[in-house]
Symmetry: C2
Subunit: 399 residues, 2 copies
């Protein structure tokens, strides 16, 4: 419920104004081009309060006036307000087989993107971070050249993180455990007013789907990230369900066969041991040398039986884990990304059949969809999270 | 954030007072014996506002003054306020092998409890409900004889429910699908001002653990209900995580073996097919005639190998499902109820070993605990939910 706006003074009143600044900014984010009158009507604040809040937001540089008047009362037309497309956030990604950086502007465009293929399994943080800092510098320079000021950023990694302390707790496919990045993160975007945070790659990709993908249709879904590891993110009621420590959605380590092979997590029979990239390559008899995905896709196109049955097996076990997750979390839609999206043609029938076999009617075929965001899902989600963090605390930029 | 209290008038101001009535009542619920001065300090409302709100609550009969003065400022001592122990809620339960009713008073005591052993598999609703109405009448009479006025109630069933429409969507172990109880529920407690709601038995038992059991230690846990079926409830951040349609926590239908037997849900290899009561009796070679639990416990005490291995198998598969749930929902504690609690001595070692085998370190042994609420867990949870619903809307009783 909005509180009456009052000028900023000490203590509680300042809090109220902070809250109202975020409220008005959220209104502009939700409804780009809205007028001050529209914001007043939506928020319940007076027009005078809205005008004063908007003046502060314009001064902060977070919003700007749109030249086109979108609505207008009798008399003079209102001026539309939009998030300033000349502001943005940086995203950086460490994954098992690549590093990447990207810039998302406040208009929601991924205006810069660079990816570096690299085998990162067993790489030391001290070896990877300098590479990533170089890439981030190029991204920031490209943003500056386009007139975009970067206010904050997020690094996303394929493992469990403690986002409060900026520690990677466990990323078995990198070979990382208890890696403290609190000293490294600021180097990715020096001096950024909102700093650089840390997140899990599958959660970031799930949020990208929510805000820029299938979230337009499904308010609740499981996102499954197919990389070397298999990760996941649960979206419930248009929010990420992160669980008590922020580690929910780890579908890759659900047990899908009690007598399955040992897993990097220390357990056995995990989904990842059947549906992770290495598991599929190995089942298809494809050796270590890259590009293994290209060779797998070629064999599938040729109808190679070993390749087809390797992918079908992955789809069958994926169906078991999705069915079990649907039972526990009560979601009835699944979005598949990473290599699952690349393998859609061959994996979808096996997955849908498995779902119907193990949990009839629970996840209808029309609710099994594939990500259209490609390799950039996690980057977009990480940057979009940073943008939302900035928009949630506009008062940081207001003197 | 509390709003300044104002006398009730039309529209918005009335809403503010409603909110403040609930706020003050929640303060009394949380802290029985609190004084008006203590409530004012906790809530940020003025003492005058609190006094006026408390006057309304006293008139509603929801709270009463405690004769003992618990604190006191200089000058006259304050009078303590408590929830009125002469108000309460009714709970009713339909389960596969019993019907039950109970009365929970506002002091949190289960002051009446009646259970009827009965094979309800395949029973028609029209056959069961009249029996339950008779039992509810006896419960209400017993409550009245003890001076307890019942203000509302809840019926809890072993299946998925639509709580908005009061429909049992699916209870495969009863053989029910799409059973509309909206006409039947009011008969359980005619004229009750807060009516009678409908809930899932495992969710009710999970809430009973949260409020009256292991929730004192664990803010986040999976509750597993062992009855003929295996159900579950997820508590995250001291709240039930119900999922988009209220069906989350259905651990009984997670797939724990891809080649497992067919299940009543239409799937196969579900936990229930290995760890439900019938599955254990059947694996132990115990026939249909009751009391099968007594015979199983006797054989276990005698060290009968078939019985021991049947229970260990159930524990092993239970461990797989708990491990997978811990991955997806990020909970690291599990509370086991129903027959799992009765079998604690024999099932706990197999369960803990399985957890450690499939997900090392995820759910430490000290976080595997057994319910102490016995058969009454679901009843207590259903009645306590009704009590909380009543306390959330005190204005319904204030003219």
């Amino acid at each position: 419920m909005p509180h009456p706006s009052t000028p900023p003074t000490a203590g509680r009143v300042g809090d109220v104004r902070r809250q109202n600044l975020a409220l008005v900014l959220a209104g502009i984010h939700r409804n780009g081009g809205v007028t001050r009158a529209g914001l007043a009507a939506d928020s319940g604040l007076t027009k005078a309060s809205v005008s004063s809040l908007v003046a502060d937001l314009l001064e902060s540089g977070l919003v700007c006036e749109d030249s086109v008047a979108r609505d207008g009362e009798r008399g003079r037309p209102g001026t539309g307000l939009v998030l300033n497309p000349a502001r943005g956030a940086l995203a950086a990604e460490i994954n098992v087989d690549h590093l990447a950086v990207g810039v998302l502007d406040f208009a929601g465009q991924l205006s810069f993107h660079e990816s570096l293929e690299r085998r990162n399994r067993g790489s030391r943080p001290g070896e990877l971070l300098p590479l990533l800092v170089d890439m981030a510098e190029r991204a920031a320079a490209a943003a500056a050249a386009s007139g975009i000021e970067l206010l904050g950023g997020e690094l996303t990694v394929p493992g469990l993180v403690d986002a409060e302390r900026n520690v990677v707790l466990s990323a078995p496919n990198l070979g990382w455990a208890g890696v403290d990045l609190s000293g490294e993160l600021p180097k990715l975007l020096p001096g950024a007013p909102f700093g650089v945070s840390l997140s899990n790659e599958a959660n970031s990709a799930a949020l990208a789907e929510l805000w820029h993908g299938h979230g337009a249709v499904f308010p609740d879904f499981l996102y499954v990230s197919g990389e070397v590891g298999v990760g996941g993110g649960l979206v419930v009621g248009r929010r990420l369900f992160a669980g008590p420590q922020g580690h929910a959605g780890e579908i890759g380590h659900m047990v899908v066969h009690p007598e399955g092979p040992p897993c990097a997590c220390g357990g056995r029979g995990c989904l990842e041991t059947f549906a992770g990239q290495d598991a599929i390559y190995s089942a298809a008899g494809i050796e270590q040398d890259p590009p293994r995905m290209g060779r797998l896709l070629n064999r599938l196109s040729d109808g190679d039986e070993g390749a087809v049955s390797a992918v079908e097996q992955a789809g069958r076990y994926l169906g078991i884990a999705v069915a079990s997750t649907a039972r526990v979390a009560n979601v009835s839609a699944v979005v598949l990304g990473g290599h699952f999206a690349a393998l859609q043609e061959w994996i979808a029938p096996a997955l849908c059949q498995s779902l119907e076999h193990y949990a009839p009617g629970l996840v209808p075929g029309g609710n099994v969809v594939f990500s259209g965001l490609g390799q950039t899902g996690a980057l977009i989600g990480a940057a979009a999270t940073s943008v939302r963090r900035i928009l949630g605390s506009p008062y940081e930029l207001i003197p």
